[in-house]
């Protein structure tokens, strides 16, 4: 086995011309498979030493709304830096539930996307925020919306020779959060997860579900119902609370869960509805801030 450690994106993309090479980011899935003998790569492309992949920036306001651009190897711990967490609270909520502190120091946003696990913790957040994945190849860079990037369980729209270089996320001005259910906080794979983001500028609610389908699912009917029910012109605390249980039922109806060793489909459908109701109560319930 040979490891290549390029120091620039261009070098990494050039190395990917070899179809046998396997991309290694934070290693939290890859190395587990190697150590267990399930993955036996001949050639590995390590992204660890490419500084431009590890940076994030707030893009100038020429984009409407403003965006944050995260390099592909930005780690979960990076997402918890107070200055970034302030801009993207739902992403920080998701990041802090991943694995353990050691795993969060290693695992990356690009790795979460490329692995495309149905339980990937950042994926519902990226789906709710309608993030865009930047993918580089010898032909240049192309944008892929997250909604079309994930094509199924552990399957993506990446073509051979393409490398995820960044993710762009819009900065929304309403309440946003991420919730997940597992048997405990640390080191568990989500049984059900949910991201909710309110955009007061466009008067929309975005709600995406994780671990209850082959990839992240947008609960569009529930989103539209809730956005149409709330009074956007008056503070939530002064208006009659919307029927959040109904919102929960709509969200549960959007789920496509399966039975597995972590939970039954029926439990997942129930749980995702509860998560939705609680998240919406934070955003729009009595005494909420939004």
């Amino acid at each position: 086995m040979t490891i290549l450690s390029p120091t620039s994106i261009d070098e990494a993309v050039a190395a990917l011309a070899d179809p046998a090479i396997q991309v290694l980011a934070g290693g939290t899935d890859f190395m587990v498979e190697v150590n267990a003998g399930h993955r036996r790569p001949d050639k590995v492309l390590s992204l660890r030493h490419i500084p431009e992949l590890r940076t994030w920036e707030q893009l100038p306001a020429r984009d409407d709304p403003a965006h944050v651009r995260l390099g592909a190897t930005v780690t979960y711990t990076d997402m918890l830096q107070p200055d970034l967490a302030q801009l993207l609270p739902a992403l920080a909520h998701a990041a802090r539930t991943v694995g353990s502190p050691q795993i969060r120091n290693a695992g990356t946003i690009g790795g979460n996307l490329a692995t495309a696990s149905p339980a990937g913790d950042t994926l519902p957040v990226l789906a709710a925020l309608e993030a865009v994945v930047e993918v580089a190849s010898p032909l240049g860079v192309r944008d892929i919306p997250v909604a079309t990037f994930i094509t199924g369980p552990k399957r993506t729209a990446l073509s051979p020779g393409e490398l995820i270089v960044a993710v762009r996320l819009p900065l929304l001005d309403g309440h946003q959060e991420f919730r997940k259910i597992g048997v405990r906080n640390a080191m568990v794979i989500a049984v059900a997860s949910l991201a909710l983001a309110v955009d007061t500028r466009t008067r929309t609610v975005r709600c995406a579900l994780g671990s209850v389908g082959p990839g992240p699912i947008r609960a569009t009917e529930a989103e539209e119902w809730l956005a149409g029910t709330i009074d956007w012109d008056r503070p939530a605390a002064t208006t009659e609370a919307p029927d959040l249980a109904y919102f929960g039922r709509l969200v549960a109806g959007a789920a496509q869960p399966i039975d597995d060793h972590r939970g039954t489909a029926a439990y997942r459908r129930h749980a995702i509805g509860v998560l939705a109701e609680r998240a919406a109560a934070q955003a729009f319930g009595a005494g909420s801030a939004a």
């Binding site: 490891i3 290694l24 190395m31 150590n35 711990t77 107070p82 920080a92 502190p101 050691q102 290693a106």
Partner: protein, 174 residues
């Protein structure tokens, strides 16, 4: 099946302030390099899956599972193992506190626990939130018992010395 060829390369590792020159198969993890090649056996191999934390070391001051990184890829980092945290006669305050509070039984997880705790205190200092911090962007963190437990959740202790581990860490925080 094609013949599997080991690729050997000269590598340099900076561990506990000392430079080591090695010739290693690229497949070697940092954990194996530390234990098998450098004879730094303080870092333990518990699960080899990044779940137990017994192999926790610090890379540039950040805690990492040494089983989840190839040694070749660790060359650019300043690596600190338990051997670099303290030594007999010159214990780190956390090491002394683990002794004072019986923060161990068999001791297998202890090097990882202590490396993890050293880095954890630095994270708290930097204001990084955990899964139990109410506001992710709030800044300073009060390292109470639930914060301590959550922040040490990447280190398992199968003897169940958690109560005393938390007490030891709290003692150092003061």
């Amino acid at each position: 099946m094609p013949e599997r060829v080991a690729t050997l390369s000269p590598i340099r590792l900076s561990v506990n302030g000392r430079e080591y020159q090695l010739e290693l198969d690229h497949r070697t993890t940092l954990l194996d390099a530390l234990r098998e090649n450098l004879d730094l056996t303080g870092s333990k191999k518990g699960c080899d899956h990044g779940q137990c934390g017994a192999c926790t070391v610090m890379l540039d001051g950040r805690r990492a599972n040494a089983c989840l990184i190839f040694a070749v890829a660790a060359q650019t980092h300043d690596i600190t193992t338990i051997e670099g945290v303290g030594a007999a006669g010159n214990l780190h305050p956390l090491q002394q506190a683990f002794i004072d509070h019986d923060g161990l039984q068999c001791g297998y997880c202890t090097p990882g626990q202590i490396c993890s705790a050293v880095a954890m205190l630095a994270e708290v200092e930097a204001g990084w939130p955990s899964a139990v911090t109410p506001d992710v962007a709030a800044g300073p963190v009060d390292l109470d018992e639930s914060e301590t437990r959550e922040r040490m959740s990447g280190n398992l202790c199968r003897c169940g010395a958690y109560v005393n581990i938390v007490a030891a860490i709290q003692d150092v925080v003061g």
